[in-house]
């Protein structure tokens, strides 16, 4: 069956590791990955614990389809209490690491405690070792990746690591696997840093069996045909990547620009998918080299880019002349529109540094945007920034800021706090475009009303991946809704949240849902693992997961008062585009959302809801 049935528990305080059986009762109720690991976290730790203390746990979790031939079946998630938010964190990554963990015979790794000195973990099938990492502490993700493989003389290993940012507990530091795939959000990298765990290197020699092989092959092949025949997953995403959205969202008047002062960016066309594919004036070569697929993926949306070697950012730095992970839409938006910078090569360089040092580019770019606003208001000066002129549109400010933040040096230490803490420090907390301390992604809640409710109610702080109503409101998938109205959005958000919770728990990529519905996913899950997995069961599991995450946060001290958007979104109307004159209608949507969820007006699941979901 799709499970190995084994959980690896690593105690860093005592330096031990043990194997235990996967809780199959929980697996039937919470599926896997995001849902199942969140259940373990909820049961095993006090949600009030310090996210960067020894009582926090961090779980690397696969889904039942991770490591199988189901399309996109290579995902894993990192579940912990997030230091950026204080809320439950679940950051999802692709690449090859998740499948390798399954091949090594493990469904999940639960890491607890705190090592007294820098260590890294190696997993060679059943051989699990906690090893001295003093030689690689202070090095980047890229250096750590090469060092682990070289030390163990095994280039087939897959490594998930933190960079200097994670070591220094930059609050939005990421865990990066396979050099440029990341569990990016909420500061999961800082949790590893707090535990003195530099990296987890995995090599597996087993495989993943499924419950019903014939049914599994039919279901997964049927699914692949749907992805291939769909214009988005078959052509659009592999050719143009997520970056095709840059012009779409800008034209729709929903591209948060210069820390949300504007909703359209005049430089959008210069940092778009189309611009990436166009030959550069400088050397006649395009920024984009090719697309790339994660394990078992038949979509292949990933971008592989190469920076112009003569660009000022990489002159005399040949380590950045290689092809590496290029700009995805969210990164290009945060590093570009949020800061007003439209130099594509500079954004690519900044993105490379984010990968190299393990930084979430969304939160980093948004934090630089907030800092630029503070600077322009005179609340931060050159003395504070170490001479850096931190004005909107300054390419040099952006590229210097990422170098400083990556190494946690100078003003980079303050940028590493994230925009909520930074703006609060300078007396203007309302200038943080955050929810629950986490920065918005690339959609303005005034121009895409459903995303305002999505951000406000997201269990991990502002996030687009918890309920991607943009799909419906802008792209018309599965059906077109009006982005400028609030009517119907509470139900839309709830439906997206529940379905996405299930997808995130399966081992599959959420991008499949541009073509697949749960009707396509249920047969694949059902053929892989025990239990009668239907669309209805997946939806019920998804709703159960959503409520469980909410209850974790409530126990951590969050209330309905935290389901709010920054003042700017509620009071300052959009200045241009279709949403001109509009603010977010969150206040209209939120009460209806609570009611649909079966929560009290205070945002607490009622006893009836808890009973209905058998929690």
């Amino acid at each position: 069956m799709g499970w190995t049935g084994k959980v690896l528990r690593v105690d860093l305080t005592n330096g031990t590791s043990t194997s235990e059986p996967l809780n199959m009762e929980w697996a039937d109720k919470y599926l896997g990955q995001r849902g199942l690991a969140s259940k373990y976290l909820s049961e095993e730790m006090d949600p009030k614990a310090d996210a960067l203390g020894p009582d926090n746990k961090i779980i690397f979790a696969t889904g039942p389809l991770t490591g199988t031939c189901a399309s996109t079946g290579g995902r894993y998630s990192v579940i912990t209490k997030g230091p950026l938010t204080g809320a439950i964190a679940c950051s999802n990554s692709g690449g090859y690491w998740g499948a390798e963990l399954k091949f090594a015979g493990w469904d999940m790794v639960i890491i607890e405690g705190q090592s007294p000195k820098p260590v890294y973990l190696t997993i060679f099938d059943d051989d699990v070792q906690i090893r001295d990492a003093s030689e690689v502490w202070g090095k980047s993700v890229w250096e750590a990746d090469a060092w682990v493989k070289s030390t163990h003389q095994d280039p087939m290993m897959h490594v998930a690591a933190i960079g200097v940012a994670g070591e220094n507990k930059v609050l939005y530091s990421a865990i990066v696997n396979d050099l440029h795939r990341a569990a990016g959000r909420s500061g999961v990298g800082a949790v590893l840093g707090s535990k003195n765990l530099k990296a987890v290197g995995v090599r597996g020699t087993g495989g993943v069996s499924v419950k019903d092989f014939k049914a599994f092959m039919k279901a997964t092949n049927d699914g692949k045909k749907v992805l291939k025949d769909n214009a988005v997953t078959g052509v659009g995403l592999p050719t143009f990547g997520t970056q095709v959205l840059m012009n779409v969202i800008n034209e729709s008047g929903a591209l948060p620009t210069r820390n949300g002062r504007d909703v359209q960016f005049e430089g959008a066309k210069d940092i778009s998918a189309e611009a990436m594919a166009e030959p550069r004036k400088s050397d006649g070569k395009p920024n984009l080299l090719t697309n790339q697929a994660c394990f078992s993926c038949t979509i292949a949306c990933g971008r592989i880019s190469k920076i112009d070697e003569k660009h000022y950012t990489v002159q005399n730095k040949p380590q950045y002349w290689q092809a590496s992970g290029g700009l995805e839409y969210e990164a290009a938006w945060a590093l570009g529109a949020a800061t007003g910078v439209s130099d594509l090569e500079a954004l690519t360089y900044t993105n490379f540094i984010c990968n190299e040092q393990g930084i979430d580019p969304i939160s980093f770019g948004a934090t630089v945007g907030a800092a630029m606003e503070l600077y322009e208001l005179g609340l931060i000066d050159k003395e504070k920034t170490g001479g850096l002129e931190l004005v909107f549109g300054s390419t040099e400010a952006l590229t210097t800021a990422v170098e400083l933040t990556g190494k946690a040096e100078g003003f980079g230490k303050e940028l590493g706090l994230g925009s909520a803490r930074l703006t609060a420090k300078y007396g203007r907390p309302e200038l943080a475009m955050t929810v629950k301390g986490q920065e918005f992604p690339a959609y303005d809640p005034r121009g895409v009303q459903g995303m305002g409710l999505t951000y406000a109610t997201s269990n991990r702080g502002a996030c687009h991946l918890r309920s991607y109503t943009v799909s419906s409101e802008i792209m018309g998938v599965p059906e077109k809704t009006d982005p400028l109205v609030t009517e119907g959005k509470a139900a839309l958000v709830k439906a997206f949240q529940d379905a996405t919770s299930a997808v995130d728990s399966s081992g599959l990529c959420v991008f499949t849902t541009f073509a697949w519905t749960l009707d396509d996913i249920a047969p694949q899950v059902d053929a892989a693992i025990p239990g009668d997995w239907t669309t209805e069961k997946l939806l019920e599991v998804g709703e159960r997961i959503w409520n469980m995450e909410r209850m974790f946060n409530n126990r951590a001290g969050f209330t309905a008062a935290d389901d709010k958007l920054p003042e700017r979104m509620m009071k300052d109307a959009a200045k241009t585009g279709p949403a001109k004159g509009l603010v977010s209608g969150l206040d209209k949507m939120l009460p209806e959302y609570y009611e649909l969820r079966g929560w009290t007006p205070e945002g607490v699941p009622t006893n009836d809801t808890i009973d209905r979901l058998a929690m």
Binding site: N230, A231, V232, V235, G236, L237, T239, F240, G241, T242, Q243, V244, L245, N247, V248, E251, S252, G253, K269, D270, S272, A273, E274, A275, E278, C301, E328, Y329, E330, H464, L465, Y468, V470, S471, I474, M475, G476, V477, K480, D482, V510, F511, F514, G577, P578
Partner: protein, 83 residues
């Protein structure tokens, strides 16, 4: 009258040579419809998934009826998505 036409992703191949970064200002007849503009540039109707007139979505049934005025921006994409 002059309007700005923007064709993105794979539709970029239908832009005239003087287009820059997927957009071009074109002269069109007063009162021209969206479909007439797209037909004039050989943009296959079935490829026009997302059609925005000044940023506002135009459903397929509106595209023959919606008339453009001076200075309008027409932007068109094939089926695309991201996130």
């Amino acid at each position: 009258m002059k309007i700005t036409m923007k064709l993105y992703a794979s539709l970029g191949q239908h832009l005239p040579p003087n287009a820059n970064r997927n957009e071009v200002v074109i002269d069109v007849a007063d009162g021209i419809s969206i479909l007439e503009i797209l037909d004039n540039h050989n943009v296959p109707r079935e490829s026009c998934h997302l059609v925005l007139l000044n940023g506002v979505f135009q459903a397929p049934f509106e595209r023959s009826e919606s008339r453009l005025t001076e200075g309008d921006h027409l932007a068109v994409w094939p089926p695309v998505a991201g996130g």
